[in-house]
């Protein structure tokens, strides 16, 4: 390419331009669009829960238990106490996303700095990597049970347990990105300016590793959502009567033959949430991958 060759992407100046490029790349991927729409629907459901739900999720109708789906007044039927399943799913989605988001936040806030330091400072790497191995050796259920035993089961504890379980993968992703970037020449250039470690990590490596962090967050999110359902199912997470998809599944198994739809719909909701995140995360990874993007 000669000097005079005009630049193909013109007028895209600030970061907004790059973001637009990524979104356009996702829009070109049909699966990404499906994932994005599912995600949008899930998030809107959670945010607009009070508007969407026909009843309060905890309101019981003792005169109409075990209603089938598509009954007038109860679109998805009712459970053993006559609570509206649609309302409970809508609020349950809210709780699932909240716990998922908290877990992701914890993993990002703890994992990213540890990963950066482990990738950049030799002796930190030795400590952090061994701790990471140690954490990975513990099944996260044991951590969750331990936390529940100490503090009692709650939303917060579920989120902490799920977050801790995801910290090691985040550390590894960020560490790998750091190792890769610190050998690049722009980092060498900064080092030969005597730029401090903080400046190099914060301004040069972190912004470049951020796309990997975002992608990893979209991978962690569905795992955390399923984890929340699992913990609640086992009684270690959300406590009744607060609605949670996991609790709904756990309740429904007692009368699975009498009212199978009471288990089917919360299960579907979990599937939709996870599918949305996974599809969107895949498309995001492809869009951010420098090998698929033009230089």
């Amino acid at each position: 390419m000669s000097e005079a060759t005009p630049v193909t992407q013109t007028a895209e100046i600030d970061l907004g331009g790059q973001r637009g490029q990524v979104l356009r790349q996702i829009a070109r991927n049909p699966l990404g669009v499906v994932g994005g729409l599912l995600l949008l629907a899930v998030v809107l459901t959670a945010v607009l829960a009070p508007l969407l739900a026909p009843y309060s999720p905890e309101q019981v109708h003792f005169d109409t238990p075990f209603q089938r789906a598509f009954t007038v007044g109860f679109p998805l039927g009712t459970d053993d106490l006559g609570r509206d399943i649609l309302s409970r799913i809508v609020y349950g989605t809210r709780v699932s996303l909240l716990v998922g988001a908290l877990a992701v936040l914890l993993a990002v806030v703890v994992g990213t700095p540890l990963g950066l330091l482990a990738g950049y400072v030799g002796w930190v790497d030795v400590i952090v990597s061994r701790l990471t191995d140690l954490t990975l050796a513990f099944p996260f259920l044991i951590i969750a049970v331990g936390l529940a035993a100490i503090n009692g089961p709650s939303v917060g504890n579920a989120a902490v347990a799920l977050g801790i379980a995801q910290v090691p993968t985040m550390v590894r992703v960020v560490r790998a990105e750091t190792l890769r970037h610190k050998e690049l020449e722009f980092v060498l250039a900064a080092r030969s300016l005597d730029a401090g470690g903080g400046r190099i990590l914060g301004q040069h490596i972190l912004p470049n590793a951020l796309s990997a962090v975002i992608v990893q967050a979209t991978v962690i999110m569905p795992v955390a959502v399923i984890g929340e359902a699992l913990l609640s199912f086992l009684g270690l997470g959300i406590q009744p009567p607060t609605p949670s998809l996991g609790i709904m599944l756990s309740d429904a198994q007692q009368y699975i033959f009498r009212a199978p739809t009471a288990a089917v719909f919360p299960g579907l909701a979990i599937a939709v949430i996870c599918l949305g995140f996974n599809l969107f995360g895949d498309a995001l990874r492809d869009a951010l991958d420098p090998t698929t993007r033009k230089r």
Partner: protein, 543 residues
């Protein structure tokens, strides 16, 4: 050969190749006669590799021939089916690919990979194929072929792997050899040995060759006819020596003028000549002094330590350029890193403007940093992709707390002027710039703190020849205007002749020769330097 003139071995007529509907080749007409060597020359993006790929129907995904014909011995193979193409590839047309590192299967023994070609084309099978593979390796110049055929690719050096690829390409005795930059990943001396050997094999069999290269000198040395391409079109076509001595097309003229061949040493005059300054540097402490630099690495699993740099001493006089030349593994980059303070020498010392780089602390260290700045090889990796150009050039000023926001902005504009970049590029990101523009940004960043010494680590090696010429001219202008000194690390002797006053030739960590550029080039004192000089392709064509 009268019959060859009527039906050439390969005839391409009006070829158009498109990627996703956008044409990248616009009507290529090309013939290769029986036994003829044709070189396709051009810069990156000119379409030379695409042309070669179209011949063997190996266009990357998304590419397709949208117009024109490709004939092999008068037989139209433009849209031939897989069966025909399989017969064509290997048996009739052999391919020598560019990168010897990635074109061999790392998990299969080398001999088996050659035998595989023979088996696939039904030339030989079983034990006979293995025996023939060993013979082919021997013919390709691999010593101890019997033993080495049982080794894996990672046990071979780059040059040896390229020989294996040549053996594979020639295994079925094709009539046409397509060589896509066959030696551009290799050192010059290795390149020369391999091309010499390829030429012996080729001429013995009377094979035709289509050689794709960016190196005009190489084309002149190794081809009968040179075809110059630009922007997907052929701009000039003619006998190699005539075309390069007396180019007709304006683009070819520019290419030839920019080629840093050895004999065009005094061409630009941009760099101050070495005989101007002897009285000037008298009594001046050299800007950079390296004394008895040694760097040892411990290699995992081995007891003795690897000596990457062995007792290297040199000095860079103020306002001049000292070049460090060597092939890969010679330790030249390690020297650059020790000078920059990115690596600590095992023993010996580096002084910049009188201060010791390795031991300086606080204010002294900052003074060294301000006096010395690097420019690196890869313009794609040396700029942070998240920053704007202004932010990149501004960073040294921010690190050293120079001025306020307004004065820094003015300084950035001034620096962009210095490197001849339009000021409105300041808000762009690196991925919106061309390779040459990026390297100018890297130079602007290096100049931000008014350094006295710039360490250029292969600073022009990744650039196309025209851009390389522009950057070298820029470096020369800056030296004259700002009195800069350069430590110029490179593998390219031709470039050294253009820019350097003093030269240091390194081999396996040791300095084998040092002196002024004229002494080293006119009266080389060591065999190695002589070998390096002789290996520069195309030296005789441009004299």
């Amino acid at each position: 050969m009268p019959s060859a003139a009527s039906t050439p071995l390969l005839r391409i007529t009006d070829l158009e190749v498109s990627y996703h509907g956008t044409p990248v080749l616009h009507g290529i007409d090309l013939t290769v006669a029986e036994g003829e060597r044709v070189a396709l020359v051009g810069e990156s993006g000119s379409g030379k590799s695409t042309t070669a790929a179209a011949v063997i129907d190996l266009l990357p995904a998304g590419g397709a021939v949208t117009r024109g014909r490709i004939e092999y011995r008068g037989d139209d193979v433009t849209h031939a089916d897989d069966k025909r193409m399989r017969r064509l590839r290997g048996r009739q047309v052999g391919l020598v690919p560019q990168d010897p590192m990635s074109n061999l299967n790392p998990a299969t023994r080398v001999g088996k990979q050659i035998a595989e070609t023979l088996v696939a084309h039904g030339v030989a099978s079983g034990r006979e194929a293995r025996k023939r593979a060993v013979e082919l390796m021997g013919e390709a110049g691999i010593p101890d072929a019997d033993k080495r055929s049982k080794q894996y690719p990672h046990e071979f050096s780059g040059g040896m792997r390229q020989r294996v690829l040549i053996a594979i390409a020639l295994a079925c005795e094709p009539d046409l050899l397509v060589a896509d930059e066959p030696t551009s990943a290799l050192d010059v001396t290795v390149q020369r040995r391999i091309l010499d050997h390829l030429e012996t094999l080729r001429s013995r069999r009377g094979t035709s060759m289509l050689l794709v290269t960016h190196d005009l000198g190489l084309a002149a040395d190794r081809a009968d006819r040179v075809v110059v391409m630009q922007h997907g079109r052929i701009v000039e076509d003619g006998p190699a020596h005539e075309l390069l001595r007396d180019p007709q097309h304006e683009y070819t003229r520019r290419l030839v003028a920019a080629a840093p061949s050895v004999s065009t040493a005094t061409r630009t005059g941009a760099v101050a000549t070495s005989d101007e300054d002897p009285q000037q540097d008298k009594g001046l402490e050299p800007i950079l002094v390296a004394e008895h630099l040694t760097k040892e690495y411990s290699v995992r699993g081995r007891r003795e330590r690897l000596t990457a740099v062995d007792d290297v001493s040199f000095a860079v006089r103020a306002g001049t350029t000292t070049a460090v030349v060597g092939e890969s593994g010679s330790g030249k980059t390690t020297v650059a890193r020790m000078v920059l303070g990115l690596e600590t020498p095992t023993s010996g010392e580096v002084r910049v403007a009188g201060e010791h780089v390795a031991t300086a602390k606080g204010a002294q260290r900052r003074a060294i940093r301000r006096a010395m700045q690097p420019v690196f090889q890869d313009p794609y990796a040396s700029l942070n992709p998240m920053f704007t150009v202004e932010h990149i050039v501004d960073e040294p000023l921010r690190v050293f707390d120079v001025g306020d926001r307004r004065s820094r902005r003015a300084r950035v504009a001034e620096l962009l002027d210095h490197v001849a970049l339009p000021r409105d590029l300041a808000q762009r990101h690196p991925n919106e710039l061309s390779g040459g523009q990026r390297q100018r940004v890297a130079i602007a960043r290096a100049l931000a703190l008014d350094p006295r010494l710039v360490v250029c680590d292969e600073a022009v090696s990744a650039l196309d020849v025209l851009v390389q010429d522009q950057i070298l001219t820029l470096l020369g202008d800056l030296q004259r205007d700002l009195g800069l000194s350069y430590l110029f690390i490179t593998h390219d002797l031709a470039v050294v002749r253009l820019v350097a006053h003093d030269v240091l030739v390194m081999q396996q960590g040791k300095v084998v020769e040092a002196g002024t550029v004229d002494d080293v080039f006119e009266r080389p004192g060591s065999d190695y330097t002589r070998e390096l000089l002789a290996a520069i392709p195309g030296a005789d064509v441009f004299t």
